[in-house]
Structures are given as C-alpha cells and as structure tokens.
Symmetry: C2
Subunit: 240 residues, 2 copies
C-alpha cells in the first residue's frame, strides 16, 4: 500500500542530502520501472541471489519478488553491493507456516501466493526454463507488464511455477553448453528487456506518486539516523 | 596454426559418433564465430572464470584469450559445464618467466603479448571499465572483429590493458549499483554483441577449413579413447 507522503518531511530530509545525492536520486527515478519485475523462487546460493538483485537494480527495476517454499532467501552483501536497499523486495514465504505445522499444508503455496498477486496486478508471467520453452527471449512482447521467474540452481523452477506461468521463456543458445548460470540468465534477460522497453514508446515509467514515495524511502536510506531527524521534524510540527 | 585435415581420419572418427552428435556438431558450427573474442586478464575467482567460459561458448564464440600476469587461470568444472573443451583457449602467461627470473621483467608483459597478437589479426580491442568509458555497449560497431577484455574482480583491468585498448567499453546502468559482477558483464556484453552480429549481413561465420578443423577436434573430444581409434586408423593406412 502506498504511503501518504508528507511533503514537508520529504523536503526536510532532502535538505540534509548532498546536492549530488539529490540529483542522482532524481536521475535514477526517471529510469525506474515496475513494468518488468524479477521473481526468484527458492534460490539456494546467496552468491547467485545477490548477483540477481544487483543486476535488477542496475537495470532500473524497482520490484523483486522472493518466493520461499523450501529455502530461506539469503544475500551476500559483498556481491549484492547494497542493491537490496534501493529495491522494493516482496517476500512470499511458506517457511513459517511449514515450520509451525510440522509439514507443508500445500506444496509450493508461496509460489501460488506470489503468482496470484502478480496476476491481480496485470502481470504476464514468464518462467525461465532451459529445457522446455514456449517463447524465446528476442520474441518477448513488451505490451503487458512482465514478471520473469527464475528457479533454484539445482532443480530449476517448481512444477507449480511452470504450470501456472503464461509462458516458458528460453534464452537462445548457440553452443554445446545447455544452460547459463542463474545470475547470468537473469542479467541477460533483464538487460535485454529493459533496453527494449526504454527504446519503446510505452509508458513504463513510475507515476509521480510512486516517485515521491521512493524519494522519501531513498532519502531515509541515504541519511545516517534519519529516524532521529524524522522524530525532530514531527516534534517541531507538534510544537507549532 | 591450422592443422592440415586428414579427410579420411575425420570420416573414420565421425563414423563412431551417434547421428544426433554429428547433427549437433554441424548445427553448432553454423553459428560459430571468431568475429568476437573474449579476453580474460588475471581473473582470480575460478567461479567467475568458469561462468565466463560457459557464456562465451553458449553465445557461439570459438576463441578465448587468457592473460596471466599475476594469477594462474583456474576453472571450476561444475560451473563451466565442460565448455572449455569446445573452445580454443589461447593462454598468454608471464607467470613462468616471472618465476624463473625471480621478478617480472616487464609489467603486464602477458597483456602486451596478447594485445599484439590480437592487433596483428585485425581485432579492435575494447576494454571494459565501469569507471571510465569511451563507448557504450549499444553504440559498439560490429564492422571490425572485436576483442572484449575483462579484468580482475578486485582491481579491474590493468593500466596496460586500458591504455593499449582501442576503446573503454561501458555497459549502460540505470540504478545506484555502479558495476555488474564480472561474469554478468561478460554475459550481457557477449549476448548483446553476438545477437546483433547474427542479425547483421556481415560474414561472421567460420571458413570451411576452420569448420573442418573443429569437426575433427570435437569428434576427438566426443569419443572415449579417440587416440586408440586414431592409432588404429593410421596403422591401417600403413598396412595398405
């Protein structure tokens, strides 16, 4: 749910940012998109997970969905380079309920939860699979918002993730090697799709409200102890 | 130097391959190119090195150049997925001479050696650097053969590799993250350039001689104990 932005608070916090940081935030917001979103299902290797977040952020994505049916999502900070702080990370987990019940009430329920949410928001879901495919990366159409799903390094995407997806996506390959590493697949796919998206006439940018909301979030993250500044701002408001 | 192909030997070895392997080799040869080549300078992490080889092979490159000024090149088989067997790996090393002399006779001499060879073969050299750039990936022109250089994870490419390159190449980035992981950079760059190359009218394919030479090499690699088969073939020739 979107936070109602207190314009005064935003301006107050921004006054503590350096000029170059303010400019950089505005520049990055211009390129930010929710038209494409990344979905990571049960990644095991924190190195891969982190590289995926880093690539998503660098390509201008705002939203990443994390699905945890069997494996808790873990990030390796040296690899992610802090990219997670600038993203909106949506966690869909079945781990807590599985632990409480002692067993899984529904197989891959976190995947179903995530897909339902994405479909309700109008996303077309493309699940990546090197083995079977219904669409090749160069043929992907950018007319609908796209969610791209990558699965675990060992087993690939789950049966549920594959069956409930709209397409099985494949990166064309021309050698003996039959698959790319997960973080490589994610980077190639996101670089290709976001490049084509930016060159298109589609309205892929964030709304002004979304930009304001992120400005506040990023200003908070850019400042040391923004919580104290915020408290001071609110107290000042109550005094007057 | 190209091996003079014994056509009889090639046909003899091919007769031991399955039909599907023969077809696959012919299919892959159609897409193989030396127009673009990958150069890896002093990579430290075997995981990265292996992922780079795997991406190069999957994108249809034949040649990879390995530069060892300071670090021996090491591959992690689980990550490279055997891709090294199908590539022509050209190793330029200063490690042996450095060890013998007790010091390095010339800084980054392996880099100079590799660059001289590439330039003699007509390659334009693009060194990747996130910090300074003279060309952005989408603007790279495919009219000349291209060698793309990636440097060590920690220090990036060496000063020599940067100064002697024709261009400093940059992948456009749109977020706070200021660089991609090495194996991700290599994959994005190779996927983008080889995709554009295949869609171009340029003559990027291998010559018939090169295809024959690789057919022999790949047939040898596809067979268990091809050395014994080859010995048998040669002895038979001497008998007749």
């Amino acid at each position: 749910m979107a936070e109602v932005i207190d314009q005064g608070l935003l301006e107050y916090l921004e006054s503590f940012l350096t000029e170059s940081r303010r400019t950089r935030i505005q520049e990055i917001l211009k390129w930010r998109t929710r038209w494409i979103t990344l979905v990571l299902e049960d990644l095991v290797d924190p190195h891969n997970a982190s590289a995926c977040l880093r690539s998503a952020e660098a390509c201008g994505l705002q939203d990443v969905h994390i699905i945890e049916n069997r494996h808790p999502f873990q990030v390796k900070t040296g690899v992610s380079m802090g990219s997670a702080h600038w993203l909106s990370i949506n966690r869909h987990t079945a781990l807590d309920s599985a632990n409480q019940n002692g067993n899984r009430s529904a197989e891959f329920e976190a995947t179903t939860h995530c897909y339902d949410e994405l479909k309700a928001r109008g996303y077309t879901i493309l699940a990546t699979s090197p083995h079977e495919s219904s669409i090749s990366l160069p043929d992907v159409d950018l007319n609908q918002p796209l969610a791209i799903v990558f699965g675990s390094e060992k087993d690939g995407i789950s049966p549920v993730a594959r069956q409930k997806a709209d397409y099985a996506l494949r990166i064309p390959m021309y050698g003996f090697t039959e698959s790319f590493n997960i973080s490589v697949s994610a980077a190639i796919t996101l670089y290709d799709l976001t490049g084509r998206l930016r060159r298109s006439s589609r309205k892929w940018q964030l709304s002004d409200e979304e930009k304001q909301e992120l400005s506040l979030q990023w200003a908070r993250h850019s400042l040391k102890r923004s919580d104290l500044l915020e408290q001071y701002y609110r107290n000042k408001g109550m005094d007057s």
